[in-house]
């Protein structure tokens, strides 16, 4: 177990180094220091000011190799900063990135955790219900509805939700965010609803397939033969077995709750890490962007290990070697 974890962590470390390298190269394909500086100091600033800015942010160093001092390159700096968690400050407005992460994590979690939990609490029982009624008209209708739900673009859900529920019916504020507990639920209601509906189709379809597959297993027949009712079979036998493959999907998502949803946060004006990322892209804010991606990949590696561990907890057949 321990050896396994160590090996996985080592693999993860290599992955993260790969991500960092990739990120560095990509950035210079996408933007130059002049672009970053131009966005930061504004369209009207004279060229000397641009140069001052570039020098002040260290973007005038050699990129990969400095014959005088190998440690004094942008690449080395990039790795040093990321690996020591010294993220520095944003290229766009000089705010310390760690502060930005702290500010963004709250709103992201405020949306993503309820979304995640509700998604499971609604999706899995519904899938189980549909599987319970398998081969009947409810199952077929449920399946068709979930394929219908899946076939709609996420954009349309958001646009439609804002238009119909926000504008026409006036049930919720169309967008916005305020962390004070008095008004927070009102802001979260619509993105939650939209996020749930958008994710429900695929979720139900996947989970249903898993459950239906389980119901054709021999042990279900055994349970039936000993006199267990259908409901009991579903809840005690099928659910538990079906949850194992579902769990792998689910646990992998947990770390990403922190990074939030780019689309939902952007459209609904939730100042979480997802919209920080979009803002960083739009503002050429490489310093923030690389931090976000770095943290994302860190969480990904963590999530994978977490998934494996949770697998061993849920499925007695699996032991990590």
């Amino acid at each position: 177990m321990l050896a396994y974890l160590v090996r996985r962590l080592a693999g993860g470390a290599v992955t993260i180094v790969g991500v960092l390298l990739f990120l560095f190269v990509l950035f210079f394909l996408v933007a130059t220091p002049e672009d970053v500086a131009r966005k930061a100091v504004g369209e009207k600033a004279p060229p000397e000011v641009l140069e001052q800015w570039i020098a002040a942010h260290g973007y005038d160093k050699p990129r990969f190799w400095n014959p005088d001092d190998p440690a004094d390159t942008m690449l080395a700096e990039h790795f040093r900063r990321m690996l020591t968690f010294d993220f520095g400050s944003s290229d766009a407005d000089d705010v310390p990135i760690s502060k930005r992460l702290r500010e963004g994590a709250g709103p992201s979690l405020a949306l993503s955790v309820p979304l995640f939990v509700l998604g499971l609490l609604i999706g899995i029982p519904l899938a189980l219900l549909v599987a319970f009624f398998r081969e009947t008209y409810i199952d077929r209708v449920g399946l068709v509805i979930s394929v219908l739900l899946m076939s709609v673009s996420a954009l349309l859900y958001i646009i439609g939700g804002q238009y119909v529920l926000g504008k026409l019916l006036r049930w919720f504020p169309i967008s916005g965010f305020d962390p004070s507990p008095e008004v927070l639920p009102r802001f979260l209601a619509l993105p939650l609803l939209v996020g749930l509906v958008a994710g429900l189709g695929g979720g139900i379809r996947f989970d249903r397939t898993v459950f239906v597959e389980e119901t054709s297993k021999d042990y279900v027949r055994t349970a039936r033969a000993k006199g267990a009712g259908e409901a009991r079979i579903m809840l005690r036998h099928v659910l538990r077995n079906g949850l194992i493959p579902i769990l792998t999907n689910v646990v992998l998502q947990i770390p990403f709750l922190f990074t939030g949803s780019i689309l939902l946060e952007s459209f609904f004006g939730i100042p979480g890490l997802g919209s920080i990322t979009v803002d960083a892209i739009q503002a050429n804010d490489f310093a923030t962007l690389r931090t976000m991606v770095f943290i994302g990949s860190l969480l990904f590696v963590l999530g994978q290990i977490l998934t494996d561990v949770s697998y061993t907890l849920a499925d007695p057949r699996v032991r990590l070697e």
Partner: protein, 672 residues
């Protein structure tokens, strides 16, 4: 009695709404005089010496007070004294230089802030003095601050040299670099052009005549900042950065700065307008006179004239990335003012006036043409469309200019808001001539085709290939909406036989193309920093050329005569002679066509009935201190406008039941 009744009704409605509906604000705020405004991009910085974008200035303008200001009502824009007691006159010095002498008001205070405590324990604020203004000017020159306006303020004698000196000493001497900031400035000084004559007296000396300098004193770049705040908020070792923690002396204090979602400004009770209403200071009192029509528009309401400012207790900015939801929230009563989004234009405006529906809601409309221009430019360094093509290219540019129907463009994309532009100078700026019609800006496809034939591209066909002449329109926006607009231009050019391909790239790649000079046709805009023609005509001045100096002359236009006239014009006051020079420059541009002047944008601003004293400015100057809010009326209206419609929920539930119940029944029957 009636007031009390209204108030309690408002509270009641607000409470009902807060329980279930879409009210984005907490209940206890519903009866406060709070101005709610949306903002899109978060401010980049709140450092007054650095901030240069509209959204930055929206916040900074209230936190940092300026020495001068603009009259709220008068047009064209007129400078009035702010923290300074008077607007200074230019004083000619014996050596040919020009000086301005500012005298500050007494008893001006900085906002309360812990930074002061750090250096003189027990105090949380102190008075503003002339040396603080001088300190700000030196900050503009400090290379570490990276101020974008050093170009303009560098006309102050010795200021640029001071910056160089400071930079060199910091590099050479780490000990110097570690000194407190005011000490560094003192040792690197003095600066010849910035003279502190007394605690409240400051003299500025310019190398050459530059009358526009006074406008810079109406902008936050010259606002006094306390050195204590700079020293305390250096952004190092987890300390806050000054760009995020402003300490000013303006009418509002920044009380909350979640810049990605919410910015809150509270009224500053230590502001001189509040402390000394008896001064009747022009920038702290509601004006008693205005432009023609202001009285009719209710802007000279005797209830307000002569009253001390500000009227609001708070300004709340909420972040809104999408214009349409923002407008919807305005219509729901959750924002107090709004532009008109083009999508809702026909509902809001009919025949140039507010629609009856909007009037019924109590909304008012204010129109203003902005001191800004949007134009299509040619890269004059390009072989085909540029200057080297000689007369042939000039005719091509003229033909292309004739093909663009700006009026139609405005009709399609801006609901006709805006004026088709004839010259680079927009209305409201000296040199604008409403009667002038640029002969190459009157859409005429036949004349365009004729010019094209004269240029050797008859019908747009390139004789060497037998195909239409192929040009490239370089754009830095790939969004769907923008593509439609670019498509409009190319479809117009197609009519005269020019095949103009849109090369849409990311903004970065576009910038890169511009840097390398690898572009043919582009579109750009310019918003005035201050109301003077110099601020527009320099966009085509050779020293500002993009490929040579990285300046804003993106067309790389270069004409010796034009340059000479510009030099002459820029230091002049608004005299008939100046006008004559501007007209000559105009005729050069008319013929050479480095730009196709597209349009001057027009702003339509909507205000709810509960907002008082609104008059749009165009320039990005702070005006909210003149506004007032009738909060009770607002609470009532919000309650009235936001009753949720719930029947669809019941309908949906009913449908679900209808779908599910037969299924369950069938299932149970089958199982038996």
């Amino acid at each position: 009695m009636r007031g009390a009744l209204r108030r309690s009704a408002a509270v009641l409605f607000a409470a009902i709404l807060a329980g279930c509906g879409n009210d984005p604000y907490p209940l206890e705020d519903s009866l406060e005089k709070i101005l709610y405004q949306p903002f899109d991009d978060p401010p980049k910085t709140l450092d007054p010496q650095v901030a240069y974008s509209v959204v930055d200035h929206q916040v900074i303008g209230y936190v940092y007070d300026t020495l001068l200001g603009y009259h709220y009502l008068k047009r064209p824009f007129t400078l009035i004294p702010g923290m300074a007691e008077t607007v200074p006159e230019a004083i000619g010095l014996s050596d040919g230089r020009v000086a301005y002498r500012f005298r500050l008001r007494p008893d001006l205070w900085f906002h309360e802030d812990p930074a002061f405590e750090k250096f003189s324990p027990g105090t949380r604020t102190r008075t503003v003095e002339a040396s603080d203004v001088a300190f700000s000017l030196l900050r503009v020159a400090d290379p570490a601050v990276v101020s974008p306006v050093i170009e303009a303020l560098g006309k102050i004698s010795g200021l640029v040299d001071f910056g160089k000196r400071l930079d060199e000493r910091r590099r050479a001497d780490p000990e110097f670099a570690a000194l407190r900031i005011d000490e560094q400035y003192r040792r690197a000084g003095p600066v010849d052009g910035v003279r502190v004559l007394g605690p409240l007296e400051l003299e500025i000396v310019l190398d050459d005549a530059y009358p526009q300098i006074l406008y810079w004193f109406a902008m936050p770049f010259t606002s006094p900042v306390p050195w204590e705040a700079i020293a305390a908020y250096d952004g190092v070792d987890g300390r806050e950065s000054f760009a995020e923690h402003p300490v000013g002396s303006g009418p509002f204090v920044l009380s909350r700065y979640d810049k990605r979602s919410r910015i809150v400004l509270e009224r500053n009770d230590r502001w001189y307008g509040v402390l000394h209403p008896e001064w009747k200071a022009p920038a702290a009192t509601y004006p008693s006179e205005g432009a023609p029509g202001d009285a009719e528009a209710g802007l000279l309401d005797p209830d307000y004239v002569g009253r001390p400012l500000p009227f609001l207790s708070r300004i709340e900015f909420r972040r809104e990335k999408e214009p349409i939801p923002t407008f919807t929230k305005f219509l729901q009563g959750y924002y107090d003012a709004s532009g008109v989004v083009k999508e809702s234009f026909d509902r809001v405006i009919q025949k140039g006036e507010l629609s009856p529906e909007m009037r019924g809601l109590g909304i008012t409309l204010a129109k203003s043409v902005e001191p800004a221009i949007s134009y299509l430019g040619f890269n004059m360094d390009d072989a085909i469309v540029g200057a080297s093509g000689g007369e042939r290219s000039e005719k091509l540019r003229q033909a292309m200019s004739l093909a663009i129907d700006s009026k139609e463009f405005l009709r399609l994309f801006a609901n006709g808001r805006g004026l088709p532009a004839q010259t680079p100078i927009p209305p409201g700026i000296f040199g604008y001539d409403a009667g002038y019609q640029n002969p190459f800006r009157q859409p005429d496809l036949d004349l365009a085709k004729k010019l094209l034939a004269e240029a050797g591209w008859a019908d747009g066909i390139d004789p060497t290939t037998g195909r239409p002449l192929r040009l490239t329109f370089d754009v830095g926006d790939t969004g769907a909406a923008a593509m439609l607009q670019f498509g409009f231009y190319t479809s117009r050019w197609r009519r005269i036989g020019l095949d103009v391909e849109i090369a849409a790239t990311s903004y970065n790649q576009f910038q890169d193309k511009v840097r390398r000079g690898a572009y043919q046709i582009f579109t750009w805009g310019w918003v005035a920093d201050y109301p003077d023609p110099e601020n527009f005509l320099f966009l085509l001045w050779t020293p500002m050329s993009r490929t040579k100096s990285g300046g804003p002359n993106t067309a790389n236009f270069s004409n010796p005569r034009y340059d000479a006239l510009f030099e002459q014009m820029k230091a002049m006051t608004d005299t008939p002679e100046r006008l004559a020079i501007i007209h000559e420059m105009r005729s050069i541009l008319e013929q050479e066509r480095p730009w196709i002047e597209n349009f001057y944008p027009e702003r339509y601003a909507l205000y709810h009935g509960w907002v008082r004293n609104e008059k749009p400015a165009g320039l990005s100057i702070p005006t909210a201190k003149y506004l007032d809010i009738d909060a009770e009326l607002r609470a009532l209206r919000r309650a009235e406008w936001n009753v949720p419609i719930t029947w669809p929920a019941w309908a949906l539930a009913a449908i679900l039941v209808v779908v599910i119940v037969p299924g369950v029944v069938t299932f149970l029957r089958e199982r038996q």
